[in-house]
């Protein structure tokens, strides 16, 4: 299922994002990583992604601000927040902005892979439903 998912990691901790990139790539995912919210927006302007793994506490543009902008560029992308800074207020805000999941670091890799799989499955289902609905609307007139 997750072998074709395109994943973007957004985290200002270089070592974290590089190793996570390698770990997800060996599982068959198409992974890229960037070090800031602004870089993520630029990347989204050039390529489309299925899932974004987003940190919250980052300089210049934090994860919540980045999430709002990401959803403006691509409302369909599934965003999983992966942060060391747990807060109920932040979690609520993330869900309100359309975030898919909220995980607290350090998160076991198996748990993260499960969430990525589930998010990708949800996105594929939604896209299937949308294309089916579009086909029904534009179907041949009798």
């Amino acid at each position: 299922m997750s072998s074709k998912a395109r994943v973007l990691i957004v985290d200002d901790e270089e070592r974290f994002r590089i190793t996570l990139n390698k770990l997800l790539a060996v599982k068959g995912l198409d992974v890229h990583n960037v070090g800031s919210g602004k870089a993520a927006l630029e990347e989204l302007g050039q390529r489309s992604y299925d899932i974004i793994l987003l940190d919250v506490k980052m300089p210049e543009m934090n994860g919540i601000e980045a999430l709002a902008e990401i959803k403006k560029i691509d409302p369909q992308v599934e965003v999983i927040i992966l942060t060391g800074h747990a807060s109920v207020d932040v979690a609520v805000e993330i869900m309100r902005l359309g975030g898919y999941e909220y995980l607290l670091k350090p998160c076991p890799i198996e748990e993260l892979l499960e969430k990525v799989d589930a998010a990708f499955e949800r996105k594929m289902d939604r896209e299937k439903r949308m294309s089916k609905a579009a086909a029904t609307r534009t179907g041949p007139a009798s």
Partner: protein
């Protein structure tokens, strides 16, 4: 020192007593004789009783005030520690995540590339396993710290405390039986429903029950009781026949990181979290303990409502 209002109460009551003395003494003065003496003695006795009652009341009020002050200091201390420790926990989570991932990556490399010496390979795997285990241990601490510091608003609903307590008792009973620990129940059937946060209360009761069975070890009893307390409070008592808590440790048991368990067996955050939760629910936890005889923790929950009011 008595409060200003208490002093006024004392003065006004003494004023009433003085008036009574005068009111009783004036007719006795005119009649004279033994009746006069008896009247004076009666009045003196009444004044003595009244003063003694007042002094006791003042002392009791002072004791209550001291206890409330101590509770306030404890809550403020826990809040300050919570804020500090959650900041530290946040900062530690990031390096922990990196260590955990590096372990996963080295494991992956080891799967791909074989190490020639089987003993070296086995030692490498063992080391990685230990690093991962210690990361999990730190993770448990930081996540519990964040739980402890979390200022989550309780979701208040009408709760059948007896049922909630029984659910938790059943949860620990299976393991308790295997250690020959008997769970003794004593529920007040007329207990009113309580307006509280059910998952939070469940967490506290479960924590106290787990602590109680741990304290007993094996061959003993854990008693769980629900009772009506003072001022309409509903009390949940969890008592054990375990090792008990030394007197010098009693005022530290709600402090974060205070534990008597061996390293790696407990974070020392359970009771701190319980204290924080019950404070948020408007109640308090009290404890009595005797070394060698056991401990009894009581959750005092405020104001119940009559059954069926929900």
């Amino acid at each position: 020192m008595p409060e200003q209002s208490e002093v006024f109460t004392l003065i006004s009551q003494r004023y009433v007593i003085s008036l009574l003395i005068v009111a009783a003494a004036v007719p006795a003065w005119f009649t004279g004789g033994p009746l006069f003496v008896a009247g004076l003695l009666l009045i003196a006795w009444a004044a003595f009783l009244s003063t003694r009652h007042l002094v006791r009341q003042i002392l009791r009020t002072n004791e209550q005030k001291c206890s409330l002050d101590q509770q306030l200091i404890q809550s403020q201390k826990l809040a300050a520690i919570g804020e500090l420790s959650s900041g530290i926990a946040h900062e530690i989570n990031n390096p922990l995540a990196i260590i955990g991932q590096e372990v996963e990556w080295v494991r992956h490399i080891l799967k791909e590339e074989k190490v020639e010496d089987p003993q070296q390979m086995s030692e490498l795997k063992e080391s990685l396993f230990e690093i991962a285990r210690q990361v999990d241990r730190c993770r448990e601490i930081t996540h519990k710290l964040l739980d402890f510091a979390r200022k989550q608003e309780p979701l208040i609903q009408s709760v059948d405390v007896n049922r909630l307590v029984e659910d938790m008792a059943r949860l620990v009973e299976r393991e308790a039986i295997s250690k020959n620990i008997k769970i003794v129940r004593s529920y007040n059937k007329d207990l009113p429903f309580v307006l509280t946060d059910s998952p939070l209360l469940r967490q506290v009761v479960l924590n106290l029950l787990n602590n109680a069975t741990y304290a007993v070890g094996k061959d003993g009893e854990v008693t769980i009781e629900t009772q009506m307390g003072e001022n309409g409070c509903v009390n949940v008592l969890v008592a054990d026949t375990g090792c008990g808590i030394p007197k010098e440790d009693l005022n530290k048991i709600f402090d974060p990181f205070f534990t008597t368990k061996p390293p790696g067996k407990g974070t020392g955050l359970g009771l701190s979290i319980c204290h924080g939760i019950i404070s948020r629910l408007g109640g308090r936890i009290s404890v009595v303990s005797e070394v060698g005889k056991g401990s009894a923790f009581t959750i005092h929950l405020p104001g119940g409502e009559r059954k069926g009011e929900a």
